[in-house]
């Protein structure tokens, strides 16, 4: 973990889906509305849920997910809600692949973007295992949550956490937040909510899902990509929340892929050399000489 890293703990059990965080994020960061043509064409919003925007984007740096679990005979139902954003990974795929130095690690351990350095190559978009960072068609550059870098530099917390009326979002030092998360999981387990576990840091919690289609499935804390500075308390499998169960750094493929390329080049080279040698041998043989 980055020393003195700042981040957020997202306790999904406290989220009411009010979207105050989403609005605060839009307001503080002066994010524009969705593409106007898409709004008029009714394609900007998903329209089949209270979850209007459906996913994070270049103009939605925070997104409140509404996950509706209704069983087949509609006798049982629950809503899971989760305020999602960039996780500010300890090993950030976006930062690793950036070829211009536009993405960088701040003094707070978060991942920010130098907008004037970004060239809009979109490599980071393909590299992010969470589908967070997105290309902004208007500016030709990428955008994502920057953990309110300007507010942090002024000694403030994030705008979303400030606006959250239920303390579902807590801003602070990651060390402190993990302690809060661990205590909260234990508290929930003591209440019989054994579903609770942490997605972002392995604090040693295990449990069993008690409700919904995955009832009975064992769960345990997950610490993907070296840990997440914005991490979550979840009540169901990560996939239910649109989170990957085993996100990975894209660099895992770099050396093996380059190795396969080298071997392929060598095989192709030998094949080509053999083709020309075969011609020489055939000509020498035809001329009556030794091959």
């Amino acid at each position: 973990m980055t020393a003195n890293a700042k981040g957020m703990f997202v306790d999904t059990t406290l989220c009411t889906g009010c979207k105050a965080c989403q609005v605060a994020c839009k307001q503080w960061n002066e994010l524009p509305m969705e593409d106007e043509a898409a709004v008029r064409g009714h394609t900007a919003f998903i329209g089949n849920s209270y979850d209007n925007t459906g996913h994070l984007s270049a103009t939605n740096w925070r997104h409140v997910k509404f996950i509706e679990q209704i069983n087949a005979d509609r006798s049982d139902a629950r809503w899971l809600m989760m305020s999602d954003s960039c996780k500010h990974c300890e090993q950030a795929g976006c930062l690793e692949v950036c070829p211009t130095g536009a993405l960088y690690r701040t003094q707070f351990g978060s991942v920010d973007i130098h907008q004037d350095v970004c060239i809009g190559c979109r490599y980071c978009v393909g590299a992010c295992p969470f589908g967070v960072i997105d290309f902004n068609q208007r500016t030709g550059r990428v955008n994502k949550c920057i953990l309110c870098q300007d507010r942090l530099e002024a000694g403030e917390g994030t705008a979303c956490a400030k606006a959250c009326p239920t303390a579902s979002l807590t801003f602070g030092k990651v060390d402190d937040l993990t302690a809060i998360a661990s205590a909260r999981v234990k508290e929930l387990h003591a209440q019989g909510k054994t579903d609770a576990y942490v997605y972002g840091w392995d604090l040693g919690n295990t449990g069993v899902i008690t409700q919904g289609p995955n009832k009975g499935t064992a769960v345990k804390d997950l610490e993907p990509v070296g840990g997440l500075n914005v991490f979550y308390l979840l009540l169901d499998k990560p996939e239910v929340y649109g989170l990957p169960s085993a996100p990975q750094l894209p660099q895992r493929n770099f050396v093996p892929s380059a190795g396969v390329a080298l071997i392929s080049a060598a095989v192709l080279g030998v094949t080509g050399l053999a083709a020309f040698r075969r011609r020489r041998v055939a000509e020498t043989t035809a001329a009556g000489g030794a091959p």
Binding site: H55, I67, Y104, V117, C121, A258, L268, G272, A275
Partner: protein, 311 residues
């Protein structure tokens, strides 16, 4: 509703695909020229000289297409020089060893002069056109072993880097395997041999054409093996449908990448007893079909990631 998928597409489409196709022709042709330098003889000189005219224009086209995609030409410089805004980065040159795009940008920049030298040397041999100082220098460099070896390594890097680059993502199909670098190098070499086939066919050089036929057959077999491994890999991971059966990609992949780029050369340049299209001038058609097939391969691999998300 359930929460949406966690992947976003980088939206790399036509311009990027065409840029990498052009880079593949340039690097593949240069690599095959190196092979012919080493393994060929004076009888291949006529074809080799004409091939020297090919890499430079395609290498020129590549950054034009890439900067068109970026929208603002000046931004391209941030790939090479550290922008004042990126104060965390040391030194005046921008290079991120963890980013295949950084490797590729530098490889292309350094490789470009090698294609220019080949072009100028060939221009004098083929057309008799000479530029004072530059042409003699180019001819001297073209005969230098170190120059040839370095140029060959750069050509192979340019051939491979885009495959490694899409391997080093978290996109479906692209990151599901380690084979993309190998596949891209194989299809770049196929496009280089296709250029050689077209040039030899047009020049009517039967002796060189025979060796190129055998080279093309060998490269098609190696590419087919790599492609089969790749498809098997995708099938094992459950992402084969994004390339094999999607309407966006499937038809182009099977007809173009498999049919034109692999089956055409295997059938037309295979062992003499099985071979159809024996005449030297028919190599022009074979080469053109292979080039179209390589273009189809580029399309299929690029759009497969989008097809994967759309599943």
């Amino acid at each position: 509703m359930i929460a949406s998928t966690y992947l976003l597409s980088p939206q790399w489409e036509w311009l990027i695909m065409l840029a990498l196709f052009a880079a593949g022709i340039a690097s593949g042709t240069y690599a095959i020229m190196g092979l012919m330098h080493v393994a060929g003889d004076e009888g291949d000189r006529k074809v080799l000289d004409r091939m020297g005219l090919v890499p430079m224009p395609f290498m020129l086209l590549t950054p034009i297409l890439l900067t068109l995609d970026l929208g603002q030409p000046g931004r391209f410089l941030n790939l090479l020089f550290t922008n004042a805004g990126a104060a965390e980065r040391p030194g005046p040159f921008m290079f991120n060893p963890n980013s295949p795009m950084s490797w590729g940008s530098w490889a292309m920049i350094v490789f470009a002069p090698f294609t220019l030298v080949a072009f100028l040397a060939s221009l004098q041999r083929v057309r008799g056109a000479a530029i004072p100082l530059l042409t003699p220098l180019s001819r001297a460099l073209q005969g230098n072993v170190i120059w040839l070896v370095v140029g060959e390594l750069l050509a192979l890097t340019v051939s491979a880097y885009s495959g490694v680059l899409i391997n080093v993502t978290n996109q479906g199909v692209w990151s599901d395997t380690y084979l993309m670098g190998g596949l891209f190098i194989a299809f770049s070499e196929l496009s280089g041999i296709a250029v050689a086939a077209i040039v030899a066919g047009r020049a009517g050089n039967a002796r060189t054409a025979a060796a190129i036929r055998t080279t093309l057959f060998g490269a098609a077999i190696v590419s087919a093996v790599l492609l089969a491994l790749w498809l098997g890999n995708l099938a094992a991971l459950g992402s084969l449908s994004a390339i094999a059966t999607s309407l966006l990609v499937g038809p182009v992949f099977w007809i173009g990448a498999v049919g034109a780029a692999l089956l055409v050369p295997i059938v037309t340049t295979g062992p003499v007893g099985l071979r159809v299209w024996q005449r030297t001038d028919q190599l022009v058609i074979i080469g053109a079909l292979v080039l179209l097939g390589v273009l189809a391969f580029r399309y299929a691999t690029f759009f497969a990631a989008i097809a994967f998300i759309q599943r």
